[in-house]
Amino acid sequence: MSKKKVITRREFIKGTSIAAIGSSLSWGAPAWLRPESQNATDVVLVRNQDVLDESGSPKYDVVLEMLDAAVTALAKTKDPITAWKQFIKPHDVVGIKTNAWNFLPTTSPVENAIKKRVMDVGVPETNIGIKDRGVHADPFFQKATALINARPMRTHHWAGVGSCLKNMITFVPNPWIYHDDTCADLAKLWELPAIKGKVRLNILVMFTPLFHSVGPHGFSPEYTWKYYGLIVGVDPVAVDTTGVRIIQAKRLRHFGEDRPLNPPAHHISLADTRHHLGIADPGKINLIKIGISADGLI
């Protein structure tokens, strides 16, 4: 019988500590964190098998711990609040862009963990909004100076996957105009004034990702699995690329053969090669893994 390795909270946090380095802050997040400013980007994959309760719902305290681990690793500092201050300023008006898909939503523990740390930075609660549908007409989100993009990973009938890049689709009232060539140009969304330059963090929730779509609603619990993960980064393209690699690996393992996503999630690679929004080449993504490694699939 194999022994499960239990990681204590202290070990978990300790494992994330990376020596702080100095940086100048120019726009809320340091310039070196901007995906377009460099030829490589950091993405953090953090996994903790304690994150789900018996019913499969995420636990707030563990989510917060995982989020802290990811953000401190990204910011290369030990203290979570110091790390968050590299992304959010006290004067920011912060929109937390979630996903309300009823089968696999972002969930309130994730939303509240993000909100907690934004408030810890010094942003008053009245300057924090949490919303998915209707943000295109929401005055708060239109005036937001910073966005945090958080949603679960799932396969999608027309875009291949629904992940961070696609999560901005509710910033437009007519999403179908982005459907051409199976959503090839979703990255254009990120040029909208309400979005461009404002997304400080992308958080792809991988607690129970959906790796295959069936039926009209595209969901069956048969095709989700407990992965216990969060993928966090500044670059949405790199975050999504990492998520898709895990989904593909899961499909290979589950089906016993290479089953490509159909349609292919080409909007992610095109976000790099055509729209230059971020990095889709895994060779240029510095993946920082924290927490459990078993069945990591990447």
Binding site: W101, H156, H157, W158, A159, G162, P175, W176, H179, D181, T182, A184, S213, V214, G215, P216, H217, G218, S220, P221, E222, E257, D258, R259, P260, N262, P263, P264, H266
Partner: protein, 295 residues
């Protein structure tokens, strides 16, 4: 359960359409079944607003000629979170109903409708020009029984079976994996089993009938695609396009790929046959020789 069966026996009417073309769910779904009671108003959607109901799936249905749909949700009084959702889609033609069913097919059961599939609380089936989905998560045995009873009632209410797309009958039967058959007329679905191209290199559109299937013989697997074009000129143009873009430099119509597998295509009047990932050129020739004749 006996009450449920009685309901459907008494209610063995056909699925009818209103003058607007919308499906009247009351004609073939009960208000209550085995403690599950209808909640909220029924939903109805057309191609213009389907995306509001099935986030992410609307384009799949629209690519198969979707006309309209109606949906009903049930919940148990003592546990409102315990729900069952029934959706009935009018796909306009049996070919399309079969096609959209085929896209999500992992196993085929033939006990309900013309074919059905149940896994983990989701039952899908097709009959005539209708595609039906019934979701009852989690898929407990008790809930599964209710889902199956609903499905059987709906299937009985659709009086006539529909024809299968004729192009399917042209596939060679030897080694065919039936559950892998994918029928379509939008090029997006050419990649269902294997990535071929993001582009429409085979000129697939609403006027073509395409089928893709997986084959397994001994330890060897390969894919066969058959595309029936409305005119020989269109078929020839697609053949040329595929040779130029997928098999450049082949010198013929069969080529060894970098991974050591073989791909080939052949035109037979209006029918284009493509074999992907075969172990040998002889296997491709064998497939070509066993494709059905277009009548």
């Amino acid at each position: 359960m006996r009450q449920v069966a009685t309901f459907f026996l008494l209610f063995s009417t056909v699925v009818t359409m209103t003058s607007r073309g919308n499906i009247e769910l009351d004609r073939f779904l009960p208000q209550e079944i085995a403690g599950y009671r209808k909640i909220g108003p029924d939903v109805q959607h057309t191609p213009d607003d389907l995306y509001q109901y099935i986030d992410g799936g609307a384009e799949l249905f629209i690519s198969y000629g979707f006309r309209d749909m109606a949906g009903r949700q049930y919940a148990r009084a003592e546990d409102p979170d315990d729900t069952i959702t029934v959706d009935i889609f009018d796909m306009g033609h049996s070919f399309n109903a079969f096609g959209v069913f085929s896209q999500g097919c992992e196993t085929i059961q033939t006990t309900i409708g013309q074919a059905s599939q149940y896994a983990g609380g989701l039952l899908t089936l097709w009959k005539g020009r209708f595609y039906i989905s019934i979701m009852g998560f989690p898929g407990t045995e008790q809930k599964k029984e209710v889902v199956f009873t609903l499905a059987q009632g709906i299937a009985r209410s659709i009086p006539e079976e529909g024809a299968y797309p004729p192009v399917i009958a042209l596939l060679p039967p030897q080694g065919l994996v039936p559950a892998s058959i994918r029928y379509f007329h939008h090029h997006t679905w050419q990649n269902s089993h294997f990535f071929i191209s993001s582009e429409n290199i085979l000129h697939i559109d609403n006027h073509t009938e395409a089928v893709l299937a997986r084959y397994k013989e001994d330890d060897s697997t390969y894919l066969v695609m058959a595309i029936l074009y409305p005119e020989i000129t269109k078929a020839r143009a697609a053949h040329r396009s595929f040779l130029e873009k997928y098999l450049p430099g082949a010198g013929g119509d069969i080529k060894k790929r970098d991974d050591g597998r073989w791909t080939g295509c052949r035109l037979q009047e209006k029918l284009l046959i493509v074999v992907f990932n075969a172990a040998s050129p002889e296997k491709i020739d064998h497939v070509f020789a066993n494709v059905g004749k277009v009548k």
